[in-house]
């Protein structure tokens, strides 16, 4: 089952210090024993594969065809299926990219704020608190609206929505870790702050932040679909689940099964990410 390898450590491995590899292989072993997480991983894996290999797998060209064909049931001619597969590419891209970007940016800012502490911490955290004044959906719509429609702008808007949340988690974990005796012991050894952060802080902060970010994946997918639904994301000819939901909305009484399909996929994918995140969360708790 190599796919969970594909997913869980992919985000974290490049930034982890070498010693932590043993830890991650333990987490993986633990994860393999969790049937719910493995099912979720399988579902996510299938959806990701269908999206990634859409050009080879999809039976039809998603850009051809008529409005009428769009309403045909999934089996006939395979037009709907093709659009759903291609739609997954953009939906997943718009779901995953902002979380990855926010994970990188947010963790860096959070580490800095948490490790340095004092006045710098206060300034960073208070500035980010401003973002908390708005509900994330509203904030995403507002930023996306201000930047104008388009996929890149949506991704940018979603990244901006997630960065403060990731920073907050990273900062609070870093602040906790920094007070522990092993950090003081490392300071006693005269190691540089950079070395202490890299070896002792990062490894212990990344875990919780990573789990939190995994949970954000589903939120990001739904928000991205929402932006497209509102016309702020991907533009019409492109297949994207949120956008498809919007255009098929009018056909919901004639052919509800087909119209509901993109929504169902958004639902399944986000549930899949959520359950997988839960599995990773408990697998990472190796002290049990």
């Amino acid at each position: 089952m190599a796919f969970s390898l594909n997913f869980a450590p992919q985000v974290a491995v490049p930034v982890m210090p070498t010693p932590a590899r043993g830890y991650w292989s333990k987490v993986l072993r633990q994860l393999m024993r969790d049937p719910v997480a493995m099912t979720a991983a399988l579902v996510v894996f299938l959806i990701v594969c269908a999206a990634v290999f859409a050009p080879w797998l999809a039976p039809m060209d998603p850009y051809k065809g008529s409005m009428i064909k769009r309403l045909l049931p999934i089996g006939s001619e395979g037009y709907m299926l093709s659009r759903l597969m291609y739609g997954g590419r953009l939906s997943l891209l718009m779901g995953v990219t902002p979380v990855l970007a926010a994970f990188g940016i947010g963790t860096s800012i959070g580490l800095l704020a948490g490790y340095v502490g004092g006045r710098l911490n206060m300034i960073i955290m208070r500035v980010l608190d401003v973002f908390y004044a708005f509900p994330s959906v509203l904030l995403a719509v507002a930023i996306s609206g201000a930047l104008g429609p388009g996929m890149t702008n949506s991704i940018l808007a979603l990244t901006l929505v997630f960065v403060p949340q990731v920073v907050r988690v990273a900062e609070s974990v870093t602040t906790q870790v920094r007070k522990l005796d092993y950090i003081e012991a490392a300071r006693m050894s005269g190691a540089s702050a950079f070395s202490i952060i890299r070896v002792h802080v990062l490894g212990n902060v990344l875990g919780p932040v990573f789990v939190y970010a995994t949970g954000l994946l589903s939120v990001s997918m739904i928000l991205a679909a929402g932006l497209s639904f509102l016309g702020l994301g991907v533009k019409p000819p492109e297949p994207e689940w949120g956008l498809m939901l919007n255009t098929l909305r009018s056909a919901i009484f004639r052919n509800p099964w087909v119209a509901a399909l993109p929504g169902l996929l958004i639902f399944i994918t986000s549930i899949g990410f959520n359950l997988l995140a839960d599995g990773v969360r408990s697998a990472m708790d190796i002290r049990r």
Binding site: P19, A20, A185, M188, G190, A191, V199, G203, N204
Partner: protein
Amino acid sequence: MKQETVNLASTDRGGPAQPLLMIKDLKKYFPVRGELFQRERKFVHAVDGVSFSVAKGKTLGIVGESGCGKSTTARLIARLVTPDSGSMIFDGEGVAEFGGIEFKEFRRNLQMVFQDSFASLNPRLTISETVAYGPQAHGVSKAQATERAHSLLARVGLRPEQFASRYPHELSGGQRQRVNIARALAFEPRLVILDEAVAALDKSVQAQVLNLLQELKAEHDLTYLFISHDLHVVHYISDEVMVMYMGQVVEMGPVEDIYGNSRHPYTRALLSAVPSMDPAKRTQHTPLSGDPPNPINPPSGCRFRERCPHAEAVCAAQIPALMAAQGNLAHTVACHMNDPQSAHTQTLMEVAA
């Protein structure tokens, strides 16, 4: 008889008689966070003018109640906390002073073992990596550092082939504390601060670790600063004992003088609180009542006077100086009863009885 105020400023440079570490007038007041527009800033007088010295190859035990400033003193010496004032002389050289040694140089000679054996080990590193980290951070190659870590682990009784690649949560408390000791030794320090290092271990493991510490001290010519609230352990391991109360030294001297002939009412109260196995040795001394006063607003004069059975007017009026006890220059006490020139009515009474 002439009383002498102990003067730690005199620097006797060089030779085995030169104390390894001399601390003079160490102070740290922590600001208390008050309301936003509070005019007056308040301070916790955590460590308030502490002076002492440790002889080479000896163990100085520091005892006192929780919150008396023992651990803060240790952290100030290690500069994990920056002192407000005070100077340090390490083997005759002023630390971070003009003409003295650099602070970095001093820190290389000093290591610390903490109380919480779990919190003091990075849960994500194997114990071999933990021990090897310090030397590696100073440019020792990974292979060399690991080899050294393995030999140190073997020395503290953890067979490297069995333990080196284990994580802290796979070890017992005693084993973890051995790892902490191995890490402290990785730098070949001359001074090791043991901050409640055995307090969290159960008695049998405590004894093993204490014996290990004694062996290592002899092998590596170490000097220990042993901080503990466990009077038995301090009695066992220390050559000299320093008693602290509310950030100040109240009594200091050779271990047998402190335990057998204590002069300060606080020390006596502490010692009488220790349950004795021998019924004949049970004391009828008044045990301490109440909590230490608020360290934000310490009492005037002697800080112990509010809990002291012998307190008189002079105790509130004057701060007692640390002076040599009767007939024993090595034994110093900060109490008006020890000072024949003070106005206290019970001066030089036979307190040890």
